[in-house]
């Protein structure tokens, strides 16, 4: 294993790139840990954002003003403010206030805050896509279902959401790829993802370019995986009569 790494470092050195940190066990371990943390962050946030998006979309289309209005206000605020600022407000301000209120019983780690903030931020985008999907369900189908005595909750769960999901899938996949890229912002609050590990390495040894190439390749690979998974899902959930 180390022989392979040395070979890699030597070939890179011929292009003038200094990948020496790969040979240092501590820095290599921190980079690998960072990569795993990033993957865990992406996985948890994807699930969280889809759940948040589903909740917000059902609130938006519930038809009752006192449920739909707060959801709309929340969506507008999260969509029109930067993720970094939301993260700072949540982690630096809300967390501090929470700790002042309940002391050391505060269970939320930086990882948890990043998941919460990015899930809610992306959930707002998912909600918009799902709302467009729900509104695209033909009225005829809804009337037929309600004439079969579906109540509104069953209508949402059994008729609107499956169709809306299929309509909204391309937008949802685009949002998820954006989400994967957005997790890089977790490095701003020292979460220990791959971007943070790279920053710690390049502030000590000044090999920014080499680490940039590594980061771009890593995120490109993650986006590619999400993209492929999305296309496979699209192919499986394709509806006859609505093909592209």
């Amino acid at each position: 294993m180390t022989h392979l790494l040395e070979l890699l470092v030597q070939t890179a050195a011929r292009f003038g790139l200094n990948y020496g940190f790969l040979l240092d066990a501590y820095q290599r371990a921190s980079l690998v840990n960072g990569a795993l943390t990033s993957i865990a962050l992406c996985a948890v946030t994807i699930v969280g954002s889809l759940a948040a998006g589903l909740l917000l979309a059902s609130m938006l289309t519930s038809g009752r003003v006192w449920i739909a209005r707060p959801a709309r206000v929340f969506i507008e605020v999260t969509r029109n403010t930067p993720t970094l600022v939301q993260l700072y407000c949540a982690f630096l301000v809300l967390n501090m206030l929470l700790t002042q209120a309940i002391g050391t019983a505060n269970p939320l780690t930086p990882f948890a805050w990043v998941v919460i903030v990015i899930s809610l931020h992306k959930g707002a985008f998912h909600a918009e896509a799902l709302r467009a999907g729900i509104e695209a369900v033909p009225a005829v189908t809804l009337e037929a279902a309600s004439s079969l005595a579906f109540n509104s909750r069953q209508l949402l769960w059994n008729v609107q959401l499956p169709l809306a999901l299929r309509f909204a899938l391309p937008s949802l996949i685009n949002n998820l790829i954006d989400l994967v890229k957005m997790t890089a912002v977790a490095s701003a609050i020292a979460v220990g993802d791959i971007t943070y590990a790279s920053i710690m390495i390049w502030t000590q040894s000044d090999n920014v370019l080499e680490l940039m190439i590594l980061l771009l390749a890593f995120f490109g690979l993650l986006s590619f995986i999400v993209n492929c998974a999305g296309r496979a899902l699209e192919a499986r959930l394709r509806m006859p009569g609505y093909g592209h």
Partner: protein
């Protein structure tokens, strides 16, 4: 939805939004009487010129980035729609690379890898940090504009192409005189949406040391060193970005509705 506007327009604005009006009155009264006594608010007022100039820096970066990105994106979009594969391939690669790269990584990349001064002839031209951040944001902007442009061109019905070809227009003439004018109207809402997203992306400039709004807020929070003030200033930063991006988003929605049936 278009049919309920005439009925609502006959009621005056104050009667239609009583809640918002009440909220506005309460805020004004509090600012006039309650606020000057509160030390956190006094400190916020003291720091507001600094915050405003920091936000100005963000806006300058966003405007320049969208301008550069649009010019580059239009060229790349045109290339990617070319009939020649040798022109299409670099454009597709550019779009794929810069749409799949995290913006933070691109900003770190342009900030640390580019030199800080350009030596042209005998003069040295400074290459300040915020210009590097602008270029870092212009790269994904160009990729997104190229995609928007390609999407707009693809949404023009084939009949336009066939009809103009039957009138003996060359390909260049078709694109310039017939397709492009129709494209620009369709491109406007997603392009404005992109501008709002880029403005929010300028917040990342603070992580590389550009003296923008968030950096100013952090220095202020550290200098004044009071919890109430810290809470107030971070939420003011949120409010400033919201005040800039929300009108753009509403305008975009209005334009989308207007052009939906054209």
């Amino acid at each position: 939805m278009a049919t309920d506007y005439p009925a609502a327009a006959s009621i005056s604005w104050p009667r239609r939004h009583p809640g918002k009006l009440l909220l506005a009155v309460i805020v004004v009264l509090w600012m006039a009487f309650g606020a000057p006594v509160n030390p956190a608010f006094v400190a916020l007022l003291e720091w507001s010129p600094a915050l405003a100039s920091g936000f100005g820096q963000n806006i300058v970066i966003s405007l320049l980035a969208i301008a550069l990105g649009s010019v580059a994106g239009l060229m790349i979009g045109a290339l990617s729609a070319s009939p020649f594969r040798v022109a299409r391939l670099p454009a597709r690669i550019w779009v794929q690379v810069f749409r799949n790269a995290p913006w933070l990584v691109l900003i770190y990349f342009t900030t640390y890898v580019f030199p800080f001064e350009l030596h042209i002839g005998t003069t040295w031209i400074a290459f300040p940090d915020w210009v590097k951040v602008t270029m870092g944001l212009a790269l994904p902007a160009s990729a997104n504009v190229a995609e928007v442009f390609r999407g707009a061109m693809a949404s023009i019905p084939d009949t336009q192409w066939e009809a103009s070809r039957s009138l003996a227009f060359t390909r260049g003439q078709i694109v310039r005189s017939i397709i492009l004018p129709q494209c620009f109207k369709r491109m406007l809402p997603p392009w404005m949406n992109l501008y709002a997203v880029i403005t929010m992306g300028t917040a990342l400039a603070s992580l590389v040391g550009v003296h923008d709004l968030i950096d100013t807020a952090q220095i202020a929070s550290n200098t004044v060193n009071r919890t109430g003030f810290t809470v107030l200033i971070y939420f003011s930063v949120l409010g400033l970005f919201f005040a800039w991006c929300y009108p753009i988003s509403r305008l975009t929605q209005r334009l989308e509705r207007r052009y939906a049936f054209s």
